[in-house]
């Protein structure tokens, strides 16, 4: 074996150990609920807990609405920027990165001050309004991932020429976006959607401060009061995230293949 390849394997081995050892330790700990033997009791307790089911369902629904909102905002925006306003792309990229820089707690405190029950837009005056505000906040948090995923998808197609080809064949903007652009970036959109899903499922700060019955605050609550169940929940959360990543990989195989483009 060449020395370069050997050291590459060593580095890979160290990286894998760094990642997997804590995970294996957590998994092993989650199996120790029954004294003296390994069992899935902690998982049974967690999955059987009605609060788990309720909060998980709430977060799944919030994630679905977040994805819909994100797609409705990001796809036309990213498409239009590529087509007509490429000069403002760096500015938009910077704006979409802001949620990574500004802590969620700052955003949510802003929301609370802006949309309190005495404000002109009293989102927080009702449960439904607060949930809508949570979805809007999640869409903001997911913006860096959703925008990049869609923008990368748009980069793989010749947006301008395809748009013009559809236009000259009589298509209007709705037809162009729904029948030409969206199907060709669907896999990228789904990648963004699964990343959004993964973010929403584990998010704590916004849901907690807006007092929403989401999965994140439930995770935190269990973690503060129990021993083995938090470890089981951590493994479940990992499994959900990995499931999402695997789906992205599987779906990317079905992406429409670009024909050879001369330019």
């Amino acid at each position: 074996m060449k020395s370069g390849k050997f050291w590459a394997w060593v580095v890979f081995g160290i990286g894998t150990a760094y990642f997997f050892i804590p995970l294996l330790a957590t998994f092993e700990f989650s199996l120790r609920m029954r004294r003296g033997v390994h069992s899935f009791d902690a998982y049974q307790v967690v999955l059987g807990d009605p609060r788990f089911q309720a909060t998980f369902l709430y977060s799944v629904i919030a994630a679905i609405f977040t994805i819909i909102l994100g797609v409705l905002v990001v796809v036309p925006a990213a498409y239009w920027i590529r087509l007509r306003l490429p000069q403002i792309r760096p500015i938009v990229e910077f704006i979409t990165l802001l949620p990574l820089v500004i802590p969620a707690i700052v955003i949510v405190f802003g929301y609370i001050r802006m949309y309190g029950s005495s404000s002109p837009l009293p989102f927080l005056a009702s449960d439904l309004g607060a949930s809508a505000l949570l979805v809007i906040g999640y869409a903001t948090l997911a913006l860096p991932y959703m925008y990049r995923a869609v923008d990368t998808g748009l980069r793989t197609i010749d947006v301008r020429t395809l748009t013009e080809a559809a236009q000259i064949l009589g298509a209007g903007w709705t037809t162009i976006i729904t029948r030409v652009i969206l199907p060709n970036v669907l896999i990228a959109v789904l990648s963004g959607a699964f990343l959004t899903f993964a973010i929403v499922i584990g998010e704590f700060t916004m849901a907690s401060l807006l007092n929403r019955p989401a999965f994140g605050p439930y995770l935190q609550n269990i973690g503060a009061n129990r021993a083995y169940e938090p470890a089981a929940l951590a493994i479940i959360a990992f499994a959900i995230t990995w499931g999402c990543m695997s789906l992205i990989q599987i779906l990317s195989r079905f992406a429409p293949k670009s024909a050879n483009r001369p330019n």
Partner: protein, 354 residues
Amino acid sequence: MAEPFLSIQHVRKSYGANTVVQDFNLDVEPGEFVSFLGPSGCGKTTVLRMVAGFEEPSAGKIVVAGKDITRLKPNQRNVGMVFQAYALFPNLTVAQNIAFGLKVAGMSKADSDRRVAEMLDIIKLPQMADRYPYQLSGGQQQRIALARAIAPKPKLLLLDEPLSALDAKVRVSLREEIRSIQKKLGITTIFVTHDQEEALSISDRIAVMYGGKAEQVGTPFEIYNRPATKFVANFVGTLNVLEGTVTDAGAGRVRVNSQEVALKGKLNGSKSGDTLSLALRPEAISLARQPGHDTSLSGEIAEVHFLGSVIRVRVGIGGNTVSLDTFNNSTTPPPVVGDKADISFASGDMLVLH
């Protein structure tokens, strides 16, 4: 005179202070195939895009079949277009690509299927209906793009350098196919190209463009044999340019490297002592005197390039160099560099460039 089908009238296009098309005028008859020929940046694609509706003219108007379409959106013009980059929709099959415009127009599925089959027959790819664009070669993709463009029966067909991305052999066969389909359907067509051979071989008329203007509009024969400007003469075909001095403008006599040449006709607008550029096509020149050649110039063989069926010879005549082609003859050895040589031509073939 009959109304032109397409009339481009005093069209100008500026981007800020940069004017890329200036006072462009062209009338195209129904069923005519007109090529816009010119180097990169001459404005030919911009004119085409204005006809398509992708660019709005800064001034002037565009009329199709008597209707002013200058301010109409591209999807309201009923114009078909084939792009250099094929622009097939990657997520749709060949049949779905061809049916796209028909579906948008609200055609029933049965009629659309019939039309798609008809189009696939016209482009001779009936077996490709269920393939995706990535499964096709460049030539096949461009034929599908052509079928897609003509399927909705557009009033006008625009071809934006459709052959540029293809290899040489496919280019030749596809251009002939495009021309034959265009003739069969009788569709008025504008073809943009920078390839003079393409333009000369398939066009009814050519508009040679330079600097945002049409330098000359004429049949391929006129453009090649009677170029109106120095640019057209230089751009279309290979041209030998000889610098000469007028010795007798009234008699049309010019001195080229101390040798007198008599041109056909007077040199209007010139006087003795003026310098002139004289142009000769290589095929008008021969090494030996041919029947009908009334003029000869003496020089020296400067270069000889053996190209198989043809031998390209460059002859130095003072400060000028003249290229000419002779057919290869297996019994006659090629000219030798450094040998004295007389070139001959008919004075009527010599053009005075302005």
